[in-house]
Subunit: 149 residues, 2 copies
DNA sequence: CTCCTTAATGCAATCCAATTGCATTTATTT
DNA sequence: AAATAAATGCAATTGGATTGCATTAAGGAG
């Protein structure tokens, strides 16, 4: 009980209130390494099915509630998930090729204040989402879609 | 804003490139009257099944692509839809009771500029999403959830 | 370390939102 | 009114997400 320096990973999971099981460690490691926000199925796939899909669903849901993971909606059919880093970053998404880039500095406190002044039933904001959509440069170059009427 | 002359409605639909069919007129009128962003199934339900669900799916998708309808993601499982008014408004959502209020004035142009300066592969933003999450006053009053550990 | 409790996982079955195919209907043009 | 192409409705199907339950294993106690 004294010689084992606990993994940082294990600490993170335990501090969030969970047992540091192998699937949880594997999944968290995977998300830490992964740049892009992923769907549940992409995560399960990326883990080469070393973890059952049902378990991936359950872990991601639990981690999201606990604040370890962040849910992102990019108008791509289903929600995506990424590791919740301290840096509050957002995305710019190409609506044609789905290219994704990050940006930071949305000044959400200022925005939240503005919002709170307008709404009647709230006095406290705990989270926010902000995403931009557009065409990336290479898709712009390609010109309009081929399908004609 | 409530009652729109039928001709105006027909024009809107035709200008978007569609035939002004009864289901389309019904659905658009319904969304114009409805305050809250709704899921597909809520819309179908709200229309009392006067329109087949499949048709609701198809119309909403087409209208969204055409810019008549706006897709909103509020971390509530599935996307919601509302009429695309000129006023660029966003929402504050209670994560417990799902109460929704609107607010305006996000200064998206400024934010988009900031984002564009940081990303490499984009030079044009066409849309954005911005939502705030928190606990509404009445849910705050209720205190923490009953389930203890 | 071994035992013990119970959280967590895996698998099967199920659910239900979303999609697809196709025959029929309907808006619009001539 | 006829022509024709788009749009709808219904049935069937797909596939992501959920649930139940038996089994496994994490973590605390002794």
């Amino acid at each position: 009980m004294h010689h084992m320096k606990k993994d940082a990973l294990v600490d993170i999971i335990r501090n969030a209130g969970f047992r540091a099981t192998k699937p949880r460690r594997t999944l968290l490691t995977y998300l830490q390494k992964t740049r892009l926000p992923q769907t549940i199925l992409e995560i399960a796939d990326g883990l080469k099915d070393s973890i059952d899909q049902v378990t991936v669903y359950r872990i991601v849901e639990a981690f999201t509630k606990a604040g370890l993971v962040r849910q992102i909606d990019l108008r791509m059919g289903r929600p995506r998930y990424e590791i919740a880093d301290a840096r509050d970053h957002h995305h710019v998404v190409c609506v044609r090729c789905e290219r994704i880039e990050d940006f930071i500095g949305c000044d959400s406190d200022h925005l939240a204040d503005k919002a709170l002044k307008q709404v009647k039933g709230f006095s406290h904001i705990t989270g926010h989402s902000l995403e931009f959509f557009g065409l990336c440069n290479s898709c712009v170059k390609q010109g309009p879609t081929l399908q004609a009427a």
